[in-house]
């Protein structure tokens, strides 16, 4: 199963993860 997030954010939004990284519920994905 997969979850796709689509969202609008300011252009200075930065992802704080890398491709292939394991993540857990509540872990930071990105911030403005």
């Amino acid at each position: 199963s997969t979850i796709v997030l689509i969202f609008e954010a300011p252009e200075d939004f930065k992802f704080s993860v890398s491709t292939g990284q394991k993540v857990k519920v509540g872990e930071a994905l990105g911030d403005v």
């Binding site: 997969t2 689509i6 993540v23 994905l29 990105g30």
Partner: protein, 426 residues
Amino acid sequence: LANAWKDTPTKWYPLPVFVGALVLTALQYRRRVTEREVHVDENGQEVVRLKGPWQVHVLGALPLRNMSRLWGTVNSMELPVWFRPIGFRLYAWAFGCNIDEADQDDLTQYVSLGDFFYRKLKDGVRPVADTVLVSPADGRMLHFGAITDGRVEQIKGSTYSLDALLGIERPNSPKPTSVAFAARDMAEVDDRTFADINGIEYSLRDFLGTSTPPSPAASGTSTPTADAHDRARAGGLPAPNAKKHGEQIDASVSPDGPLADVVAHEASVAAEMGAQPFLDRARGMSRYAVKPGHGLYFAVIYLAPGDYHRFHSPTAWVVEKRRHFVGDLFSVSPWMVKRLENLFVLNERVALLGRWKYGFFGMVPVGATNVGSIKINFDQALRTNVGARRPPPTGTYSEAVYTAASPILRGQPLTKAEEMGGFCLG
């Protein structure tokens, strides 16, 4: 022939330049033609078709939906009590589950593999980060980035349409009547007053404790005015936005009863979101109207069979509607993602659409062969992976609007990391 093969020396020489130029031109022409090859229906909507190598077409010929339901039925069978700890430990070992995190220490309490698969976690084992966006699930980041020209990148060089994924109509296509987002809504919401649970009207801005015009910089904490406090108390409402980011509003000032809880919950979400989204709710719903200085982003998280399979809210937001797309149930493993174009548009999925502090927010749980059933906790009417003689054509969806879920936010409010639903076996 043998002598010629052995003895003839290899002699390299350059091709004439015009041959190379001809080949490059042909390749370029072929690429452009392929890029333009988008099938559309009579309404101008893109028709998504199965495209990929032969393995994909072989899989496409299988009755995946029936197989998925059979898999679910088998896994919902009650297991003998003596076998449960052995079986679940074996499963955990094979798929890398951390049983210590499960809320049930006694594995005999899980009656079937499906029950174990949908296990809850102990409180506190997943700390929530203090960022605007957190992971909604345990899994692996497959891909993320910015969306350009309405196309979401599945893998490098392969994209799918955002319109097809979410069911957003093109500007010139006829809109279904249930889609009520228009510029008109923005004007209405801008200075609207709401009747609260006691019939006393109050302004949205007062409720949220914002000045006029609202500051775009409002991010989770805003300063309530004395007037707003008084009015909220007079109307039996919780003090507007009185606490800091992430804290619960003090519900002691609100009347007893379930409705009071709903209002308190809404206020909590509103406090996290800030006031801005309410004034921009219509603009946020379409990629054609992203605010200046903003962009659209995507993130794809893959849940492996051993992962915790419930999902949580990735931010504080309001879900306004859900669109259930009945589709195929291909595997969504990274192997398949690399091979099957438009995988996420072909598969059965539930698009939850709404808004957060920066505008549009959407979350799309996508089903797969082994986990075809998607549950949404606040939507008891939703039924996924249901058998039908003839499934509807790809791209069609049924829609539910959550406007009645809350009197103020006009949608289903969710706080960050709040459990939303999950994937079930079959």
